[in-house]
């Protein structure tokens, strides 16, 4: 034993120079390499901002910011060209509001069901199934909206057009249900088991435990899931491109066709718009608007999460 | 600080209380035994002998209490010394009870009434021993090292008086060989009181140990 000790100890102590030097070098160089790589995310953001910004500036040399922000007509591809972003913005908001109105309660309800009521095996099956919904490509939803949701709606509301914000909103809503359900369920599951037990031990029904203890405890996660879902809804492209119609429409009526910011960008990029025309620059201005909105929402989500986070 | 361990402290209080009771019982037994001897009152002496059982039982209860306190409360340092001291003191008090009982028995065994002088000498010793007993229990409860040491000093007086008493006795026997049995009983009686003094000294030593964690020889 002793001789062995010596050899091991010796080997550890007088490590062969190569490996020691190698270790030192790795130890020195790795953080630097990793740091460089990690700054890529900054460059991506900068890249996005720069890309959008440069062309947006050009755009604003043609169009006043005031018109852009307050105009209620968006007709860059028609004569006369008008550049009021509000119809697009309203379109995006309308779709997002419908989506969240659908997905919020349903997603949260599903989350509560999964975390509070569902037997373990049911939960283990249902949750992945719901998550599949989130992975379905959005063009599929687009056509689902068009082929299924709209006809159903039309049979309920005769006179409803094929393209409307409602149907697109519902499809987007269905798409983001799993996002809310799954993330909220995660947040609820993260409420420690012993706190849950505490509620039951005081004679709470499952609903009371959910309503009074678990949801408040998971609030930061739930809010974050909502905000993420909203920004996903605002950023959603293909569903609205396909199902909402492509009509910049300054309206609050969900039964009318609308165009969202994202759908507009796709429309332009698929079309024959001459490069470097004002119409071409509009996609950057719209993209910038979209970016700023989602950026602000994310910051907001971050702030909310921090504010409501519970330290158990 | 010091507010914790209510139940342990309650246990300690209970222990002290019982020790105090036991001490009182021993003092009483001693008083009675002495009285029985002085008055040659065999009934009183028998009473003392009968009551020794109660003292012995108290010893068992106290031992039990100590054992439970150790088992339940894991005392350390001074707490532990206090408890061990209680255990030792308990044994000593019980022996003192036995001695009181012996005194009573001796007094019964005595065929003749001893002389007044002898009785006075015994009473003198008994008086000192009784204060010693009383004081040492107080010293234990107050954790008073100085008092304990002072009490132990008194044992020297007891020893001196005991020697005088014995010499006196021997002189007597030489004069009255017929009374040898009674006189021998008286010698034993004296010895019992001397031993009582020793026990108090023992307790005094434990009190010192309890407080200072130092062994001392106060003999």
């Amino acid at each position: 034993m002793n001789s062995l000790n010596l050899t091991v100890r010796d080997k550890i102590k007088n490590k062969t120079g190569v490996s020691a030097r190698y270790n030192k070098f790795v130890e020195y160089i790795m953080p630097k390499i990793l740091f460089l790589i990690s700054t890529i995310s900054i460059f991506v953001t900068l890249g996005i901002v720069y890309t959008l910004f440069e062309s947006t500036i050009t755009f604003f040399s043609f169009v006043s910011i005031k018109e852009f922000l307050t105009g209620t007509r968006w007709t860059p591809l028609f004569e006369p060209q008008q550049f009021g972003i509000l119809p697009l913005l309203l379109g995006s908001v309308l779709v997002a509001v419908i989506a969240i109105a659908i997905a919020g309660p349903i997603g949260l309800g599903a989350a509560v069901y999964l975390s509070q009521y569902a037997p373990d095996r049911v939960k283990k099956t249902l949750k992945p199934i719901l998550e599949v919904l989130a992975g379905v490509p959005t063009i599929v939803y687009g056509f689902f909206a068009l082929n299924f949701i709209t006809p159903v709606l039309q049979s309920l509301m005769p006179g409803l057009g094929l393209f409307n914000a409602l149907s697109a909103g519902i499809a987007v809503g269905i798409m983001i249900i799993p996002m809310i359900a799954s993330l909220s369920e995660d947040a609820m599951a993260a409420v420690p088991k012993h706190i849950r037990e505490g509620a039951y031990a005081l004679g709470s029904t499952r609903f009371e435990a959910a309503y009074k203890v678990i949801i408040p405890g998971a609030l930061s996660g739930i809010i974050a899931s909502f905000v993420l879902a909203i920004s996903r809804a605002i950023g959603e492209t293909m569903i609205v491109t396909i199902a909402a119609g492509a009509m910049p429409n300054f309206t609050f009526n969900p039964l009318e066709p609308v165009q969202t910011m994202t759908a507009y960008i796709v429309q332009v990029s698929l079309g024959d718009t001459p490069y470097r025309s004002i119409a071409y620059y509009t996609i950057y201005a719209v993209g910038m608007t979209l970016f700023i909105i989602t950026f602000v929402m994310n910051i907001f989500a971050n702030w909310l999460t921090k504010k409501f986070r519970e330290e158990y | 600080m010091g507010l914790q361990r209510k139940s342990f402290d309650a246990g300690l209080t209970a222990l002290n209380e019982r020790l105090l009771n036991m001490g009182t019982a021993v003092e009483e037994a001693l008083d009675k035994a002495l009285q029985a001897f002085v008055d040659h009152n065999n009934d009183l002496a028998k009473e003392v002998i009968d009551q020794d059982g109660a003292i012995n039982d108290t010893e068992d209860t106290i031992d039990e209490l100590v054992i439970q306190l150790i088992a339940h409360q894991q005392p350390v340092a001074k707490d532990l010394r206090r408890i061990v001291t209680a255990l030792k003191m308990n044994a000593n008090l019980e022996r003192m009870g036995d001695l009181a009982c012996n005194i009573a028995k001796t007094s019964i065994r005595m065929k003749l009434e001893p002389e007044l002088e002898v009785i006075q000498q015994i009473q003198e010793i008994a008086a000192i021993v009784k204060t010693m007993i009383h004081d040492i229990i107080q010293a234990y409860i107050n954790e008073d090292v100085d008092a304990a040491k002072a009490i132990a000093l008194k044992d020297d007086t007891v020893d001196r008086l005991y020697k005088e008493f014995l010499n006196n006795l021997f002189a007597h026997i030489r004069q009255n060989p017929d009374e040898v049995e009674t006189l021998t009983q008286l010698a034993f009686l004296g010895r019992h009181f001397e031993r009582l003094g020793d026990y108090v000294t023992n307790i005094a030593e434990y009190v010192v140990y309890m407080v200072d964690a130092k062994r001392s020889d106060l003999n």
Binding site: W74, L77, G161, P248, G271, D272, T273 | -
Partner: protein, 305 residues
């Protein structure tokens, strides 16, 4: 859809039709980009060409006529599809970059104006009436013709930046008037089909091909060039001979001279394209041009060699 030409056979099967079996094996790339309108024809040509020269890799992009010209005039593509003629600025760009090109017309696109099968009142419309409808002057059907019902007109049309849209606006509304923005637009003509077929009071226009495929859902509207004149339905014949006016238009491909000269596979493909365009145009829902025009194209190509 027709099944006339068994194109793109599975590799294992011997080619059913192998007239050019003795042609030299060519390889290389042919890069085509541009109009979405021309895309279906060009795609069919590329598909057919694969069975002739399987090692030549033809790609067809859809950047739109404008986007296609941007790349074409920068020398990035060999051919550019266009649903209109090249414009002044694009010409200038080409000149600046030293790009020379030729324009080949490939086929006609006849725009069809359609209404839903449920629509029992519109059979024909004049250019004037169409103008009223699409400028937003008339928002109800009875404002177009008295006898039409008092109902909102629902408009559907191709995306505002497509060549089809441009052409329709130019042909029906003209330069000085403005088309209403209040119509449902889609880059996907199928969606327009669905929209209009579901709406009794809807009206739409798109490439003839889409009507052909959906004639069970749609009613074709005959167009009279002037009020009172006979209304004409678009057919192969009426488009080809120009009697269906003004809603038929030629579509083009632009070929880079230098690419053509230097690359045998591009030459080969260009000839193949010219040869097959008419036949394939019909298959994908466009109308072929008179044979003479393909002859002219061929001559033009010959002159480039």
């Amino acid at each position: 859809g027709g099944t006339a030409t068994p194109a793109a056979p599975s590799p294992e099967k011997p080619q059913a039709e192998a007239p050019k079996a003795e042609a030299p094996k060519l390889s290389g790339n042919v890069l085509i980009d541009g109009s979405s309108t021309v895309y279906p024809i060009q795609e069919a040509i590329a598909e057919e060409y694969r069975s002739v020269q399987p090692n030549v890799r033809v790609t067809v992009g859809v950047s739109g006529t404008g986007g296609g010209f941007k790349k074409f005039t920068a020398g990035e593509t060999d051919m550019s599809n266009a649903s209109r003629h090249i414009k002044g600025e694009e010409k200038e760009a080409a000149e600046k970059n030293g790009i020379e090109y030729v324009e080949l017309p490939l086929a006609y696109d006849g725009l069809s104006v359609v209404v839903s099968k449920q629509n029992d009142f519109v059979k024909d419309l004049s250019v004037n009436e169409l103008q009223k409808i699409w400028t937003g002057e008339a928002t109800k059907w009875n404002q177009v013709r008295k006898e039409f019902p008092d109902a909102e007109i629902k408009l559907f049309g191709p995306g505002t930046d497509s060549g089809t849209f441009d052409y329709f606006v130019e042909a029906i509304i003209g330069k000085d008037k403005k088309i209403t923005p209040n119509f449902v637009a889609s880059e996907d003509d199928n969606i327009i089909v669905r929209g209009v077929s579901a709406d009794k009071f809807g009206i739409a226009y798109f490439g003839y091909a889409y009507y052909e495929e959906n004639h069970d859902k749609l009613n074709l509207v005959a167009i009279s060039p002037k009020d009172g004149e006979a209304a004409i339905l678009p057919t192969e014949k009426t488009i080809n001979d120009g009697t269906y006016a003004p809603l038929s238009r030629p579509i083009f491909v632009y070929v880079n001279k230098k690419s053509f000269k230097e690359n045998p596979q591009i030459q080969d493909f260009a000839y193949f394209m010219n040869e097959k365009a008419g036949e394939l145009a019909l298959q994908v829902g466009y109308i072929n041009m008179p044979a003479q025009m393909y002859e002219d194209n061929k001559k033009l190509l010959d002159s480039l060699k």
